[in-house]
Amino acid sequence: MSFEEKSNLATLVIVSVIFGGYFISLASQAVSGGLPADVPGAAFGPVFIGLSIGLAIWMTLVHIILGVLFSKEAEAGADERDRQIETRADAGAGYVLGAGVFAALFMLVFNVSGYWIAHALLAALVASEVYKGVRRAILYRLGV
């Protein structure tokens, strides 16, 4: 397994755990009535900053560990196969992100709170990253 493939799997796990956990917690709060429908959009700010910092810390930490454990592979960097796999995965992820943005615009039309629109955009971003990670993992294993 190349360093790029290991890095992709690590990123996929980190993104899935951090954002999956957050969205599950958010959904359970919303279902139990813990969050009103008209939460002000500004309430998303601390959430977004917290998630971004958490993501940055974990990504940095895990990639430093991977870099130390597999220093020789890490030095080799990405080659043409890695770049081709990334390009293919990116193409599909763009559609997922686009669908999410479209959904957010639709919510805007129906005067949904900015808090939930921001979450729809975040969910689209996360879904596109997860799609990209899964697609890359499959392409690495099955071939380009």
Partner: protein, 75 residues
């Protein structure tokens, strides 16, 4: 989803005749990762023309001796 490429190759055989050159050594000489050499050998990845020529050069063989196009339905 991805399927095996129609480009067949003799890299494994050529490595054997080159004093059992390792995949890692070939990868180092052509500037790709060992995993990419493995994927090419297994027919899971078609290299760029540049890398294909580099591989042929390492073995001192013409490109057509290393790679062969096998159209669908061909034996």
């Amino acid at each position: 989803m991805a399927k095996a490429t129609r480009i067949k190759n003799r890299i494994r055989e050529l490595r054997f005749h080159a004093d059992e050159m390792t995949q890692a050594e070939l990868a180092r000489r052509i500037g790709v990762t060992r995993q990419t050499v493995l994927a090419i050998e297994q027919g899971k990845y078609s290299p760029s023309l540049e890398v294909a020529f580099q591989i042929a050069e390492v073995f001192g063989a013409p490109l057509t001796d290393v790679f062969e196009y096998a159209p669908e339905g061909a034996p």
